[in-house]
């Protein structure tokens, strides 16, 4: 066990955990940031997606010791009040069924739009296909990403 100091959603948080503990479980068990979900533990489903310096990463296979000074953004830090264009689009299109995979979907989409504000249909598909949705909300996910890409302020991202 060792102390790790992490920059999460603009705050410095510390956890006393084993060095190989995946960021996912530090977020959930140590920091109570449960919006980041466990689905498979092997980076196959995308439910655990967070941003590491703005890039979408699978937190279930990311050891806490590898984070260092990287800035971590979770769904809770994507916006203060759910007003990120991707979150807004998700609500407007009414994407969620059970909702479990959706924070991972939103984080993946937000990272895509940050890098590529006007993605083509193929680019949206290529990126979003990495995230499983067991309910089958894929059509609406596609539609919501497109809608978010048409929002006037796609650069209105996280607090940092």
């Amino acid at each position: 066990m060792a102390i790790f100091k992490l920059q999460i959603n603009g705050r410095l948080l510390q956890a006393d955990v084993d060095a190989d503990t995946p960021l996912l479980w530090v977020l959930r068990d140590n920091f109570g940031l449960v919006g980041t979900k466990y689905g498979c533990g092997i980076a196959q489903c995308g439910a655990c997606t967070v941003h590491l310096n703005g890039e979408a990463m699978r937190s279930c296979v990311l050891p806490v010791s590898a984070i260092g000074k990287s800035k971590v953004t979770t769904i809770e830090g994507l916006s203060v009040d759910g007003t990120h264009p991707v979150q807004q689009a998700w609500d407007k299109v009414d994407v969620p069924q059970c909702g479990y995979c959706q924070s991972g979907q939103i984080m993946t989409a937000a990272a895509l739009l940050k890098k590529n504000p006007k993605p083509t249909q193929a680019e949206i598909d290529n990126t979003m296909t990495g995230n499983l949705c067991r309910c089958g909300t894929y059509h609406r996910i596609r539609e919501a990403v497109k809608l978010a890409s048409e929002a006037p302020t796609t650069n209105k991202t996280s607090k940092r």
């Binding site: 503990t21 068990d29 533990g41 196959q44 069924q97 059970c98 909702g99 067991r134 089958g136």
Partner: protein, 719 residues
């Protein structure tokens, strides 16, 4: 309108002035046919009282809180139920707050997410709850204005008196309304007057879902709670010996305990517990047959050829019909075991205390969880409380309480609050699968291509009756025999979304396509002719509505341009037809397939459903689309195989679920009628597999008779 005095308590609608002077209205579903009456709780508490089921409250600010009693598993019930109440109440939907109710069968009667049964069960009850409250609000306003209530109307949370141009909000009227005697039979709206039902309403939990708020069982944390993961035996094994020395010495580990062949590691965090579980040294020993997929394939053949089967339905004289047949069509269809794979793995919180048990988590049947807990511990069920969390999917897996009972066992053994968490591997290898089946069909055609004889035998592994003997084409064929044989296996099975019909429909609707082909008839026309025959000259009992079935077939065919639709190249598009009646709803689907680079590609699915009145367009549209994606995804890719009792696929790297880049376009249509609504969580799934397989046949001439399609030679050999 008749009103009742405050007499018989158990039939009452419960009216209580809520804290702060609001109106609380509970209502009894159990006896909702009986006349309700009122209790005025002048003490100003919001105690719901005993024997009441659902209730709504209105506070002085006009905020209407509606409790949703049924478990939310992604079927949208937490949005749909309140819509129905709010419609009859004429509430302002923007002022409705929905809360999940805990398990309370004395109040809520049926708290189950399963069988697509919630809406049909509660439709009238929910309407009555809303209409009753609306009546009382109108009476209160009329009294205050001193006008006849017949001159008053309601709209979006206000009572209006048009003649004097006055209006009052529901919040302003709540306290006075609480004192109006409860009507025995408040008038329900005409369906044509619905304003909210049938519109597009968003999931009420969207704000929490999109911001990552704790909603799910896995998100539940409690001060002092311990975490547990369990090593369970494979199928046919039992625990021989355990060496937990290394695991117990690992950081954060509190204890390692065993119960009924399970080894539970208990500790202070999920990751520590998972690592310690991996460090367990366990020896298992054989306790039953160790079955492999190759055994199942042999068993299927034995069962299909067996002289002994349970006869499920017998009409006419099948032997003679086949003897006289001009043509006989014979085919076999097979489907594998499937895990449910809800994205939120099994988990549950339990705290076994001296005075009772607290349970919190995702379950489709909280009452079963409570009763099994009470039985295990030898305590009264009312000593067990169950809080329902939103579920990250269920698909039938959470209709079992095994994972709840584990949490109870571990909490009892370590005397602490515990959350048991299954890993994905535990989930996928842990059983309760969709059963595996193989069907043998035989059809006898006369010289004119009429189906004069039909035989179906279902052979299954832990499915019980793998047929639904009264489903179409039963009733349309004079000579029919349906029977089944089942093998009892150590591999555990359970209900999987649209149980039995999720594979049976694929087999039946593909076979009907084969028979139509053999008869030289159009598949849609062939089905319509059979239905017409069933109507004119029914054979045996008919347990489906022939006109609704014909109606949905016709609607789907019309929307898809069946048999006429051409592609950009001017050629007819290869379409495949399928229709199924299950869980009280009628659904027809048409798949469209093109061959690209030597592979059949599903481009589009048309789905038409008759589920009566559509409660929420947004929820219903997505429910159908999700069912189609689920149905085609599993038909194409899903497969769990076994080697000596051990599941060979353990996680999503080995088990393929459909992904975003594999979905077809899906066009959804609903029949518009005023029939009482039926569920949608399941009925749109069963027809999907055959719509795809039949379209693939049309496009390639290859008939897919086994799932998963991508593993079949017929699929691979398309060129």
């Amino acid at each position: 309108m008749q009103t009742l005095a405050n007499s018989s308590r158990r039939n009452f609608l419960k009216i209580a002035a809520a804290t702060g002077g609001g109106l609380m209205l509970g209502f009894n579903w159990l006896e909702s046919e009986a006349a309700p009456s009122a209790i005025i709780n002048a003490a100003g508490t919001n105690a719901p009282g005993l024997n009441f089921n659902s209730y709504l409250s209105i506070n002085p600010q006009g905020i209407i809180t509606i409790l949703s009693p049924n478990p939310e598993v992604g079927q949208g019930i937490k949005t749909a139920f309140p819509i129905i109440v709010a419609e009859e109440l004429d509430a302002d939907w923007t002022k409705v707050v929905v809360e999940q109710a805990p398990l309370d069968t004395k109040k809520f009667e049926r708290q189950v997410a399963g069988g697509s049964g919630s809406i049909p069960h509660s439709w009238q009850r929910l309407r009555k709850a809303g209409a009753t409250a609306r009546y009382m609000l109108v009476e209160a306003a009329a009294k205050r204005w001193n006008v006849p209530s017949s001159e008053c109307s309601t709209d979006k949370g206000v009572v209006l008196h048009a003649a004097s141009n006055r209006k009052l909000g529901y919040g302003e009227l709540a306290t006075e309304a609480a004192q109006i005697p409860v009507p025995a039979d408040a008038k329900l709206k005409e369906i044509k007057d619905f304003k909210l039902i049938g519109t597009t309403v968003k999931n009420v939990d969207n704000p929490k879902i999109i911001t990552g708020k704790p909603l799910f069982g896995l998100d539940f944390y409690r001060e002092g709670m311990l975490f547990s993961m369990i090593q369970r035996p494979a199928f046919g094994y039992k625990l021989k010996s355990l060496d937990a020395t290394a695991a117990k010495a690992m950081p954060g580990i509190v204890d390692v305990v065993t119960f009924t062949n399970n080894v539970a590691v208990v500790g202070k965090s999920t990751w520590q517990v998972k690592k310690a579980k991996d460090a367990l040294k366990i020896e298992w020993e054989k306790a039953d047959t160790l079955e492999s997929t190759s055994d199942h394939n042999r068993l299927f053949k034995e069962m299909l050829d067996s002289g002994e089967a349970m006869v499920r339905r017998k009409d006419g004289d099948v032997e003679t019909a086949f003897k006289n047949a001009a043509k006989v069509v014979k085919s076999e269809y097979q489907c594998p075991f499937l895990p449910h794979n809800p994205l939120e793995p099994m988990n549950f919180f339990a705290h076994v205390r001296a005075d009772g048990v607290e349970l919190v988590g995702p379950t489709q049947t909280p009452e079963l969880a409570r009763n099994e807990t009470a039985k295990l511990l030898g305590i009264s069920p009312d000593k067990v409380s169950v809080q329902l969390t939103r579920m990250g999917g269920g698909f039938g897996r959470r209709l079992k309480a095994d994972y709840v009972i584990e949490a109870v066992q571990v909490s009892k053994l370590v005397n602490a609050p515990v959350k048991v968490i299954w890993s994905r591997e535990d989930d996928m290898t842990g059983g309760s699968y969709r059963p595996a089946v193989r069907y043998r069909f035989e059809a006898a055609l006369d010289a004119q291509g009429n189906m004069i004889g039909y035989k179906l035998r279902g052979a299954s592994i832990n499915a019980g009756n793998s047929t639904r003997e009264d489903n179409f084409p039963a009733g349309a064929v004079d000579n029919l025999l349906i029977d089944s044989v089942d093998h009892k296996s150590p591999i555990t099975t359970g209900p999987w979304r649209a149980p039995i019909t999720n594979f049976l429909a694929f087999a039946e609707q593909s076979f009907i396509d084969e028979v139509a082909q053999a008869a030289g008839k159009d598949p849609v026309q062939f089905r319509l002719e059979l239905l017409e025959k069933a109507k004119q000259k029914p054979a045996g009992a008919i347990k489906y509505d022939i006109d609704r079935m014909k109606g949905i077939i016709t609607l789907a065919a019309e929307k898809a341009g069946w048999g006429k639709k051409k592609g950009a190249d001017g050629k007819l598009i290869a379409q495949g037809f399928s229709v199924y009646f299950s869980h009280r709803s009628y659904v027809a689907q048409i798949g469209e397939v093109v061959v690209q680079k030597g592979k059949p590609v599903l481009q589009k699915v048309y789905s038409a459903a008759d589920c009566g009145v559509v409660v929420n367009q947004s929820g219903a549209q997505q429910q159908v689309r999700g069912c189609v994606v689920d149905g085609i995804g599993h038909a194409m890719y899903g497969n769990i195989t076994f080697k000596d009792g051990v599941a060979e696929q353990k996680n999503f790297n080995e088990y393929r679920l459909i992904r975003l880049n594999e979905i077809p376009e899906i066009e959804v249509h609903f029949v518009q009628n005023e029939i009482e609504p039926t569920g949608l969580g399941e009925p749109s799934l069963p027809p999907a597999g055959a719509a795809v397989a039949n379209a693939i046949f049309k496009a390639t001439g290859k008939r897919l008779r086994s799932q998963p399609f991508v593993e079949q030679e017929e699929f691979k050999s398309v060129s």
